[in-house]
């Protein structure tokens, strides 16, 4: 064997391509002794001489942090290599020359191969290898490793390095390092001849970086007192920050005059000028989300249509079952619980599908990253990511959609907290009830009630973030300090649809179980199985009325509050039925179908409900659990019955506390 060549470079520097080009089929692959790191060795013949090639493991540096780095260091120090071929990526020399800078100071001949020369040329970069060669003192060549026919320069550089025993000129690096006080002091303690193949410069750098292997080796050449001194000096330094600065400064000095490229113009695209603007950014993002929300209704329509079609089955199925002699209880269960639930579920699935598709699309094209960026600092105050703003805004339309929208939040704790906070945002159904009740009871004062609701929402979210955030979001979960925004690009429709359809199907199976379970339970409690006898829910309501009155809710309002957990739209129907001596069962049916209020509801309410009670009721249903579908969607997203129950209980109790506060404030006013 004439010589052994070791290929050294960072991952993706093209080492394997060079190794394959040199050795062809003459290679064998195994593992480095005692390690699971792949070992590739081979050989080639050039001008009648046989050369061995070792493809060293790809690593960022030579600091002994990983197995790859330890193996590389030990191999080079062992003296097995006659020459080290250092590979760097021509298209990004500022960063890829770091390996060469980290190698500088090792006393093994070397040459530098600037790979991917074709890519650099395409980028308009011109590299003067002669200038670099002069500065470095080792052969330097440009190469496109994939072009097997252009390796002559490689072999010429390799032979020159071997015959001249060319070592990197480290004077420039040494000068930069001497500016670091700690390095200068440690360097003065090290023997001039270094240790094995390592120069004192290299050892000094690694000592500052606290390289475990180097610190061990220094024990053999330093006295105990010197060793302690090195440790003390190292502790006063900034460690790798100092040496990194020196190496990068040296690389810049090397490239000065050797690399010419078009001066970088740090600019942003027209769209980013809006999204990233300190003034327009937030309004633009909010507008994008609102448009996305509106847009999500279009793909939602087919499934919503299916939901409506299922709803229309109730009457014919009911009639058919009645004519077949099926009992009233079973008919009620099938029509008003099972069919009604599936109608609800399909309508909800339409929304899930639409939201996932539209907001998945926003992520695919690169907009979601901008949304996250724009709101990152604001959301950080709640312990959340910028992306959390999206579920909040969607929740103004539908909390279930907001819960589904948290799918893009990758941190589990932040995802749960986002959903918990999104529940505080009054949904579209709440907004259908609040203005109506407010204007009925308070006339022009309804505006003040709506403002009070919005202010309460903000305070509620802040308090909820403090309560839940302590367990859900740790300080170290806060991130997003630097972002490399992705370029805008066309979506991968196939991947997007596969994801959305898979997710919708999965949601269907999970949500169906929860909705059916809750609805059957509520139905059983509110159904009057014996004619003339109050159902259980009604009995409970009357028994606990002394307690519910503390919250400003008589038993009818409290039942409406309970029904609003199933669907806020139905709360008015429940009041309507109860105050007009209707059945609780009928009230539940209204709650489920989200309709049916008495024509004279206004008169009924004004006659039976005082203003403080009305205020308490508005706050109670607004900040109560959004609806059973939102509950199911929350469980679907966070996959934790414990957290889902905690959130639901917190909101139920929280709504009652808010109702009590509103009631007593109302008593002071009226």
């Amino acid at each position: 064997m004439s010589a052994t060549i070791a290929l050294l470079g960072q991952p993706n520097s093209g080492k394997s391509t060079v190794f394959n080009a040199l050795t062809g089929l003459k290679q064998h692959v195994g593992n480095w002794p005692g390690k699971t790191v792949e070992k590739k060795e081979g050989s080639f013949v050039r001008d009648g001489k046989e050369y061995a090639v070792a493809d060293l493991p790809g690593s960022y540096s030579l600091t002994a942090n990983s197995d790859e780095e330890v193996i590389t260091c030990e191999y080079i120090a062992s003296g097995k290599a006659d020459v080290v071929c250092i590979l760097a990526d021509s298209s990004q020399l500022e960063r890829s020359l770091y390996m060469m800078a980290d190698y500088a100071g090792i006393k093994v001949p070397s040459f530098l191969v600037l790979n991917m020369a074709d890519v650099a040329a395409d980028q308009g970069k011109k590299i003067d290898t002669k200038v670099l060669e002069e500065k470095l003192g080792i052969p330097v060549i440009s190469l496109s490793a994939t072009d097997n026919k252009k390796y002559d320069a490689f072999f010429e550089a390799m032979n020159r390095a071997i015959s001249n025993k060319s070592m990197i000129n480290i004077a420039g690096l040494e000068a930069e390092l001497q500016k670091v006080d700690a390095y200068a002091k440690i360097r003065a303690l090290l023997p001039e001849e270094g240790v094995k193949s390592y120069s004192p410069t290299w050892l000094g750098v690694k000592a500052i970086e606290n390289d475990k292997l180097v610190m061990e080796q220094l024990k053999s050449v330093l006295s105990v007192a010197e060793e302690k001194q090195v440790e003390e000096i190292r502790c006063t330094s900034k460690g790798a920050l100092d040496t990194g600065n020196s190496k990068f400064a040296w690389i810049d000095e090397l490239l000065d005059g050797a690399l010419s490229e078009q001066k970088e113009k740090i600019g942003v695209s027209k769209l980013d000028k809006i999204y990233l603007s300190p003034f327009w950014g937030k309004p633009a993002v909010v507008l994008t989300i609102l448009l996305g929300l509106i847009g999500s209704f279009i793909p939602a329509l087919p499934l919503m249509g299916v939901g409506s079609a299922i709803d229309m089955l109730k009457a014919p199925v009911g009639s058919a079952l009645a004519s077949a002699g099926v009992s009233d209880v079973l008919i009620a269960l099938i029509c008003n619980v099972v069919i009604q639930s599936f109608s609800y579920i399909f309508k909800m699935l339409g929304f899930v599908f639409g939201v996932l598709l539209v907001f998945g699309l926003l992520e695919e094209v690169g907009v979601m990253a901008r949304i996250s960026y724009v709101f990152d600092n604001t959301m950080a105050k709640l312990g959340l990511q910028g992306k959390s703003v999206m579920p909040f805004l969607i929740s103004f339309g539908c909390t279930m959609g907001g819960a589904a929208g948290t799918r893009v939040i990758d941190n589990y704790g932040q995802k749960v907290l986002t959903i918990a906070l999104a529940w505080a945002v009054p949904c579209g159904a709440a907004w259908a009830v609040i203005p109506m009740l407010s204007s009925l009871f308070f006339g022009p004062g309804a505006v003040a009630v709506v403002v009070a609701i919005l202010l309460t929402m903000i305070v509620h979210m802040w308090i909820t973030a403090k309560i839940f955030g302590r367990k859900l979001v740790k300080k170290e979960d806060r991130y997003g300090m630097i972002m490399e925004l992705p370029p805008y690009h066309k979506p991968k429709w196939g991947a997007l649809f596969r994801y959305v359809l898979g997710r919708t199907k999965d949601t269907f199976f999970r949500v169906s179980k929860v909705v059916l379970l809750v609805c059957v339970l509520f139905w059983a409690l509110s159904y009057s199985f014996t004619p003339g006898v109050d159902p259980i829910l009604c009995k409970i309501g009357k028994v606990i009325e002394p307690v519910t009155k503390i919250f400003g809710l008589n038993w009818q309002l409290f039942m409406a509050f309970v029904a609003s957990s199933v669907g806020k739209e139905g709360a008015l129907g429940v009041i309507s039925a109860l105050f007009t001596d209707g059945s609780v069962y009928g009230a539940f049916n209204d709650a489920m179908s989200g309709a049916a209020t008495a024509e004279n509801l206004n008169d009924i309410l004004l006659a039976n409900v005082s203003k403080p009670q009305a205020l308490a009721f508005i706050f109670a249903i607004t900040f109560n659990m959004p609806c059973v579908v939102a509950l199911a969607s929350t469980y679907q997203e966070i996959a934790s019955a414990k957290w889902t129950a905690k959130i639901a209980l917190y909101y139920t109790l929280g709504a009652l506390v808010l109702a009590m506060i509103a009631y007593h404030i109302g008593l002071l006013i009226w």
């Binding site: 990233l276 990253a369 997007l496």
Partner: protein, 89 residues
């Protein structure tokens, strides 16, 4: 690099071009320093990999050799959130 770390610790999100502007340097310089800080263990890259899906409870991940479930983010798509880094500790 000290300036870069100082900026990263102040809690404000920034893009790489913004950091380059603030530090009066190039994006290539910021990128290489970010890479260096990651390798030195001073900052870490945020992982947006397909995990913690509600359906599989985080059990399916391409990282541990298991196939991702349909509810997890699809491999090779729908992960266009760019890169994010956070300060360690």
């Amino acid at each position: 690099m000290d300036d870069l770390l100082r900026l990263l610790k102040d809690g404000h999100a920034r893009t790489i071009p913004m950091l380059a502007k603030e530090l009066h340097t190039s994006t290539a310089d910021v990128s290489r320093k970010i890479e260096y800080l990651v390798n030195m263990g001073l900052i870490r890259k945020v992982d947006f990999g397909p995990k913690k899906c509600g359906s599989c409870g985080g059990g399916c991940s391409s990282e541990n050799g298991q196939k991702t479930c349909k509810s997890c983010m699809p491999e090779g798509g729908f992960q266009n959130m760019g890169q994010m880094w956070e300060v360690v500790g």
